[in-house]
């Protein structure tokens, strides 16, 4: 990425973060922490990595994205709105009665959402099915699945990991948003998840560890993944939960809580300042 491209990417990610705060604040509920930690990677996927067309969201040859950690959909909705899949006004009524944007992704009603998700551990299996379908049809689209680190406590993740390697799904790229926190506390304290990178490697994945807020590292990892043949890739992305909003960063309490009016203002002021600095 050249400097101009990098600047645009950062601006877009900042706007996605604003949408996250906007949506969760107006919904008076939702999951800001994990949405903010995933925002940079999701922005990169939609604005640089994936072959997708907002005008043709059902193109059978498009790349697919499955947000297996479905509760972090405010980040996905933000990226989709910014990309032009639907009007950004929809985000203001996220989670409201009659709204298109549900509390967890709904592929039937939201353009650009490739798979309904929200029950943890299930999205990665669907992503395997999509990648398998591409192989079956001799198509070259790629499938990206984003998981939470806490989500990796689900046994189904490892069933899917086994399946992906056994079927040599090299068109599948799993990204773990490793922010270190889950609802009940630090991931290490709750369930002793251990070394996720070694686990994926032992299943047969190509494993790449990156800083999930560094666009250079995100780009390098995703580029590398495209060159790996005969096995899937897992990118373990170290991130900061709540990234971009000072008082939410690395705070377990902001997993699933909406900011109040004062907190909302602080968050938006911070993000506006970040955007302004980028635009200067």
């Amino acid at each position: 990425m050249d400097n101009q491209e990098l600047l645009e990417m950062k601006k877009n990610a900042c706007k996605v973060r604003q949408y996250i705060i906007e949506g969760v604040f107006n919904a008076k509920s939702g999951h800001p922490g994990g949405s903010l930690s995933a925002a940079d990677i999701i922005t990169y996927l939609y604005f640089k990595e994936m072959k997708v067309d907002p005008q043709n969201p059902h193109d059978p040859d498009r790349d697919r994205f499955v947000l297996s950690k479905g509760h972090c959909c405010p980040a996905l909705y933000g990226a989709l709105a910014l990309k032009g899949y639907f009007p950004a006004d929809e985000i203001k009524v996220l989670r409201h009665i009659g709204a298109m944007l549900q509390g967890h992704p709904d592929m039937k009603h939201t353009p650009g959402v490739d798979m309904s998700s929200g029950s943890l551990g299930q999205g990665i299996s669907a992503a395997c099915g999509m990648a398998l379908a591409a192989k079956y049809d001799n198509k070259d689209y790629r499938v990206y699945a984003m998981l939470g680190d806490g989500e990796c406590e689900e046994g189904q993740v490892w069933e899917a990991a086994m399946f992906a390697c056994h079927n040599k799904l090299d068109n599948l790229c799993v990204i773990v948003d490793f922010n270190g926190l889950q609802i009940d506390g630090r991931v290490d304290d709750v369930a002793g998840l251990g070394a996720v990178d070694e686990k994926f490697r032992s299943f047969g994945f190509e494993v790449i560890k990156i800083d999930g807020h560094s666009y250079d590292e995100i780009e390098a990892a995703l580029d590398k993944a495209k060159t790996v043949k005969g096995r899937p890739t897992a990118i373990i992305a170290a991130t900061i939960k709540g990234k971009g909003v000072s008082y939410m960063e690395d705070q377990v309490g902001w997993h699933g809580k909406a900011p109040n009016a004062d907190e909302y203002k602080i968050a938006m002021d911070e993000l506006n300042a970040q955007l302004k600095a980028l635009e200067a």
């Binding site: 059978p60 697919r64 499955v66 709904d106 592929m107 039937k108 490739d114 798979m115 309904s116 929200g118 029950s119 551990g121 299930q122 999205g123 990665i124 299996s125 669907a126 992503a127 395997c128 099915g129 999509m130 990648a131 398998l132 379908a133 591409a134 079956y136 049809d137 046994g155 189904q156 069933e159 899917a160 086994m162 399946f163 056994h166 079927n167």
Partner: protein, 314 residues
């Protein structure tokens, strides 16, 4: 009439899949290390490139099927009824049912006629579990010919379908020359005015023998084969309730949540008449030969004849 060779509906299922796959390249089949038992091995042999063994991981298998369906394939995912609908219930509900994806789920070794493997493998709750999922079609074919047509109908329906398969080889009673399967439409196998017996799946043939035997005793029972548990055929139930005034349901399934309760819901709301539910009386099965168990649980022709007679004469 039908030939007399016994065949299990799981085998009919495997054969039907192969036939259907000839015309439809988008059909793929998944199994969870039970291909030899669910009879998807018939398909595997014919179409090895279209068969995917997921290993012993039913939850992942359902998710993979969802992903395949999201990309235009028509996956049939098979396992034992216990593990397909029990273990993977939530995957079916959230990854298949909620997005209404075109996935067909086949649950083999349903009911007590699994036999010697015993209670852990004798699923008498699958119809109940699948009925609760919005938009799910639930099929329970009774013999070879019905299964063959049900598999075709499930393919033609665009959305999630559950098909119940049996392990036990059984006689075919339908006539292939005249048999017609229509999704959601029960079939009247015998007319009668005294009482209506509504049966589903493997025990339909047993019920048929029972109601024929009862004729000699002056009991003229109507018999309906309810191959589709959901959507249930309300019209045929209401007509039966009005014309015969009493209904008896027969199923190789817990009387809670299956055919019996589906029929009760229709009669209670539309035409209240007494309904008696014959089936597994909210208990577990146990090991033993399938036919012995069927007799023990009162679901063979002899047992049904006695129960129906007792209910009618009560």
């Amino acid at each position: 009439m039908a030939e007399t060779k016994k065949i299990a509906t799981r085998e009919s299922f495997g054969l039907a899949l192969c036939e259907l796959a000839k015309e439809h390249p988008e059909i793929v089949v998944l199994d969870a290390d039970l291909a030899a038992a669910t009879k998807t091995d018939i398909f595997k042999k014919a179409y090895p490139d279209r068969f995917f063994d997921c290993g012993i991981s039913e939850g992942n298998m359902i998710g993979v099927a969802a992903g395949l369906a999201a990309c235009g394939k028509v996956p049939f995912a098979a396992s034992f009824a216990m593990f397909a609908t029990g273990r993977a219930y939530e995957q079916i509900r959230n990854s298949v049912g909620y997005p209404h994806l075109n996935v067909k789920i086949a649950g083999s070794h349903a009911g007590i006629t699994v036999g010697e493997d015993g209670a852990t493998h004798q699923c008498c709750e699958d119809l109940a579990l699948m009925r609760t999922i919005p938009g799910m079609v639930v099929l329970n074919p009774a013999d070879h010919y019905e299964m063959t047509e049900a598999v075709k109908a499930s393919y033609e329906y665009n959305g999630p379908v559950y098909i119940r398969l049996g392990r036990l080889a059984i006689d075919s009673f339908n006539d292939p020359e005249t048999y017609h399967f229509e999704l959601g439409k029960g079939i009247t196998l015998k007319e009668g005015e005294d009482v209506t017996v509504i049966a589903t799946g493997l025990v339909v043939n047993e019920a048929l023998k029972a109601v024929r035997a009862l004729e000699a005793k002056g009991i003229n029972a109507r018999l309906i084969n309810m191959h589709t548990i959901k959507p249930i055929d309300k019209d045929i139930i209401i007509k039966a309730a009005k014309e015969t005034g009493r209904i008896i349901t027969v199923e190789e399934h817990n009387i809670i949540g299956g055919l019996g309760e589906a029929v009760c819901a229709v009669t209670a709301e539309c035409c209240p008449v007494p309904v008696s539910r014959i089936g597994i009386q909210d208990t577990y099965g146990h090991s033993g030969p399938a036919l012995g168990l069927l007799a023990e649980f009162g679901l063979d022709a002899e047992g049904l004849e006695k129960s129906i007679e007792a209910i009618v004469k009560k």
